[in-house]
């Protein structure tokens, strides 16, 4: 009997210790003021104070990137991407290294994806943006941009005319009519850099999402239990799939919220650089890979590729997987995507 009591005592003691390790509480914070979308931070932590300190650090870091990568607003003492655009054809602008790194990353991936996502497409995207805004404000008089207008703007989208001088930390747009629009990559890139900073500071378990650009730092419990990231069906918000990831990023590009309607037809915001029109291949594309900047960029680039080309490209990349929701609702997966799908 003594043996049994000893065994029970040992068992209960080990369970108590296990409970202590797992006793961290789930905290979640959301911020509205970053990148014109909702930012969510999730972490299991010992105390609310610890989480507040962590989420404040994440918010402040993202806010710095938000200001640097903003194309619409000026900030006191900040030379941002809007400053570069404002000085197109005029003068090089001295900028923070975090802008230079983003532009280098975007130029590199532009070449790798055959130009399917171009941060120098600003002149074209601005036309669509203005027509979309006007159409949202006055739905009865909503119209499409003229193709001639789009083609004229497209003459000023040469990514090689972004002149980066790393030695002097300057960026110069040598075409006065060109402008940068980093909307397809800035959020994901900022999330990636912020996640890396958090890891350098010793945080090994958290989730950061900026407008659906999700990056997991480590696992949920620090011991390998993955985070559960759901992707919803673009048609009815039901669950399309539930993924399990640790230390990776999940990003979706979709067409079902940001659009305007012309003559009963919806025109969304993802513009194909080749046709200069809203891309028509899919309803949504989701990318999973370790780097959130790459996931964000690829979600747009692959959205602008025909399926066979996108599938071959994704399958050629190491550690990158994708899922496509076709226009008719069919769901297609890259070769190894299903390893991330939660099974139960």
């Amino acid at each position: 009997m003594k043996k049994i009591i000893s065994l029970l005592l040992a068992l209960s003691f080990s369970l108590t210790l296990s409970g202590c390790r797992q006793g961290k509480k789930r905290y979640e914070a959301q911020f509205l003021q970053l990148f014109d979308t909702v930012t969510t931070v999730v972490a299991y932590m010992d105390s609310k104070d610890g989480f507040t300190e962590f989420s404040s650090m994440i918010r402040d870091t993202l806010n710095t990137y938000h200001q640097l990568y903003d194309i619409y607003h000026d900030y006191d003492g900040v030379q941002n991407i809007k400053t570069i655009n404002d000085n197109a054809g005029k003068r090089p602008v001295k900028v923070d290294n975090r802008i230079i790194e983003l532009l280098k990353f975007s130029k590199r991936t532009y070449a790798e994806t055959g130009g399917r996502c171009n941060i120098a497409l600003g002149a074209v995207l601005k036309i669509w943006h203005d027509y979309r805004e006007a159409g949202i404000d006055n739905p009865e008089s909503a119209v499409l941009p003229e193709m001639d207008e789009l083609k004229e703007a497209a003459r000023h989208t040469d990514i090689d005319k972004i002149i980066i001088d790393e030695e002097n930390s300057t960026v110069f747009l040598s075409d006065p009519k060109m402008s940068l629009d980093v909307g397809a990559v800035a959020k994901g890139y900022a999330v990636e850099q912020t996640a890396r900073l958090a890891q350098e500071k010793g945080y090994d378990s958290a989730l950061i999402s900026v407008g659906g650009n999700v990056r997991a730092i480590g696992s949920k419990d620090g011991k390998g239990k993955p985070w559960n990231i759901g992707v919803q069906n673009p048609d009815d918000n039901s669950e399309l799939l539930m993924t399990e990831i640790s230390g990776r990023s999940v990003v979706t590009s979709g067409i079902y919220q940001r659009y305007y309607t012309v003559n009963g037809r919806e025109y969304h915001h993802i513009i194909d650089p080749q046709t200069l029109m809203p891309s028509e291949y899919y309803k949504a594309v989701t990318i999973i890979c370790p780097d959130s900047g790459m996931a964000d960029y690829l979600s747009t680039a692959v959205f602008n590729m025909p399926y066979e080309e996108g599938l071959a490209y994704i399958n050629s990349l190491s550690g990158v997987e994708a899922v496509w929701v076709m226009r008719d609702g069919e769901v297609r997966y890259s070769d190894n995507f299903k390893q991330y799908v939660k099974s139960d």
């Binding site: 009997m1 049994i4 029970l8 789930r26 959301q30 911020f31 509205l32 014109d36 979308t37 909702v38 969510t40 999730v42 949202i136 404000d137 989730l207 999402s209 659906g212 999700v214 949920k220 419990d221 239990k225 985070w227 559960n228 990231i229 759901g230 992707v231 919803q232 069906n233 673009p234 009815d236 918000n237 669950e239 399309l240 539930m242 999940v250 990003v251 979706t252 979709g254 079902y256 919220q257 940001r258 949504a284 989701t286 139960d344």
Partner: protein, 129 residues
């Protein structure tokens, strides 16, 4: 001397039965813990809505009566009306699953679905799309 006494077996069996009962209770209770909708205004929690009441109703929050929410009998909730210009909040549709959220950025309102009580580690952490 017998290795087991009758009372020993009763004690051990009782402990095992109690453990089993607790395990079953937690499994049932927390696996199906009802979900709530939380509404945040300027990042402050201003309303919690029980989605398990089998009711169909519309309501507003005191902080902004131009934004209307609707709860459905099936346990879902949505932005029904809003005075914002882009209407992205309304286009976000019905929400009912833990981890889903929608926002009306111009009105600084977030609507999200959470567990009523404790989160299970198998719950969705966030839902995107």
């Amino acid at each position: 001397m017998r290795f087991f006494k009758r009372t020993d077996i009763i004690i051990v069996s009782s402990i095992l039965l109690i453990s089993l009962a607790i395990w079953v209770f937690y499994g049932l209770f927390y696996a199906d813990t009802p979900v709530m909708a939380e509404i945040y205004y300027e990042s402050r929690l201003v309303e919690r809505v029980d989605l398990g009441k089998n009711e169909d109703r519309v309501f507003t929050i005191p902080q902004n009566e131009h934004v209307v929410f609707r709860v459905f009998r099936d346990g879902s909730i949505c932005f029904e009306e809003s005075d914002c210009r882009d209407r992205i909040c309304i286009r976000s549709g019905k929400l009912k699953t833990v981890g889903q959220s929608a926002a009306c950025l111009p009105n600084k309102i977030i609507l999200k679905i959470v567990r009523k009580d404790r989160y299970s580690k198998d719950d969705p952490d966030i839902i995107i799309g």
